[in-house]
Amino acid sequence: MNDTTVARLAAAVKRYGPLTALDGVDLAVRRGELLALLGPNGAGKSTSIGLLLGLIRPDAGRAELFGLDPQRIEARRRIGVMLQAANLPATLRVGELLRLTMSYYPNPRGFDETAALAGIADLLLRPYGKLSGGQQRRVQFALALCGRPELLFLDEPTVGMDIEARQRLWAAMRALVAEGCAVVLTTHYLEEAEALAQRVVVLGQGRVLSEGSVDDMRKRVALTRIRCVSDLDAAAIAGWPEVAAATREDGHLRIATARAEAVVRRLLDADPALGELEVQRAGLAEAFTELTRETAAEQEAA
């Protein structure tokens, strides 16, 4: 383990009865990076986070936080946590919850600074139970960052937030990363990972499917989308060697391919009347779908 790794899973296995939730996962979080953990439901994201937090213990392999057992309080004093579901005491005021959480840490961020950073300055006197879902998420975010953590775990942080609140949370996350705080983010929103993450780990069925930067991931599944208006037969195009998929949707022909240049040339040759041509690099969403689809196919073949 080198000193730039703040959290690590090494060949971690976790079983729940007959179900293997994690099947030998290696994962390292480096100091100051924002790592996005992606995957469909049941892929093992929450189990990975639970192991790193010491909430559950691996059946095999190891989980480490700052080189220590995650259950050691010395390790947990350096992290902040926002979980998917936490019913905090409804009768406590936001300010009281914040002061309580700050008391757990050796050197917490200032009360007002935390409130400003998380955008909850106007909520401090309100009882937690009276807040809307999005406001509660903002309070949970404030509680996660109040300890001046070196590593922040955010499990689906923007679920239930409106667009404006999500943008503010993104800005706050960027500010924390700029301070040198590492972040482990799980999310369903791929654009969130695309906008924030330096590194993306895709989990599927308890294993790491891919790991790398957002660009790496796109390259690995180098698909480009072509959209145009044409009378050509979608089924015939789907048979072309370079084409991964071709469909017709509301009058438009949609083609996914790894070799856009060749396909476009052939399209233009085949249909001189072709119009409204659009060529677009695939987003993380396509790459992600492709990755998880590949694994499913492998599994079926096996």
Partner: protein, 264 residues
């Protein structure tokens, strides 16, 4: 791998938590725990008022015909009945709900000092037990004219405040076994039969013989003997009963803590 060496090698070594801040965390946790339940009277009021109502009906109003000793006897028994409830329900139900709602998971992930959460609940239960006993004492001395020496008064109060602890441990155990809304029903199943079988509602000699012989199995029986000694009804050494209660408390707590650490 040597963990200490790794910590030393990392650029920002773990910041030390000064003892004063650790103490502060304990105090903040205990304060929050008390505050949140004081602000939710719907949770605590039934726990506080139920035994008082029982005592008013059976002890003060109906007990008058039975003589002063009956009201004195029932003062002790209903005190025990009363302090079991904040222990079992205050501790057990809140733990079961918080395990269900994810609060406990979140707290386990945070660097909350170990035990601060349980200590907060314990203090809350002891406070509630004190209120229950004081209200019963007020009714006994004010309405039923039970004569108590200051020593007896304090002894019963202390019995209640310390006697709640083994029931906290039992409540905690049930709270770790059952999640969420199922816990109150299960605790009633423990609370009411145990109270009846250890002679808290009717004096033991009024129960069938084999139930009387069975009574020492229940922790509430032993607390009742201590409470009866505190108000001067029985004269027997309280130490054996106290030791039995400590044993029950430690056993329940150890089982619950083990489960809490493993399962959460």
């Amino acid at each position: 791998m040597n963990a200490a060496a790794v910590v030393a090698a990392s650029p920002a070594a773990t910041p030390a938590m000064p003892p004063r801040r650790v103490l502060g965390a304990y105090l903040a946790e205990a304060r929050s725990e008390c505050l949140r339940y004081l602000r939710a009277p719907g949770f605590m009021l039934p726990i506080l008022l139920f035994p008082d109502l029982f005592y008013l009906v059976f002890g003060v109003l109906m007990g008058k015909s039975e003589g002063a000793d009956a009201t004195r006897y029932l003062l002790a028994s209903y005190s025990v009945f009363g302090v079991m409830s904040p222990g079992l329900f205050g501790f057990g139900v809140s733990l079961a709900l918080e395990r269900d709602g994810g609060l406990l998971t979140w707290k386990r992930a945070l660097p909350m000092p170990p035990g601060a959460y349980l200590l907060g609940k314990m203090l809350m239960a002891m406070g509630a037990a004190a209120v229950v006993v004081l209200m019963l004492l007020a009714m006994a001395t004010g309405l039923a004219h039970v004569a108590l020496t200051p020593v007896q008064f304090v002894a019963l109060l202390a019995t209640g405040m310390l006697g709640v602890l083994p029931f906290c441990a039992l409540g905690m155990l049930v709270g770790t076994l059952i999640k969420g809304q199922g816990a109150p029903g299960m605790l009633q199943l423990v609370y009411l039969p145990m109270s009846f079988l250890s002679g808290l509602w009717f004096p033991l000699p009024m129960l069938p013989k084999f139930l009387q012989q069975f009574a020492p199995v229940w922790p509430s029986y032993h607390l009742d003997r201590i409470a009866l000694a505190a108000v001067g009804i029985v004269h027997e050494p309280v130490l054996p009963h106290a030791l039995v209660l400590v044993g029950f408390g430690v056993a329940f707590f150890a089982l619950a803590a083990r489960r809490l650490r493993r399962v959460g």
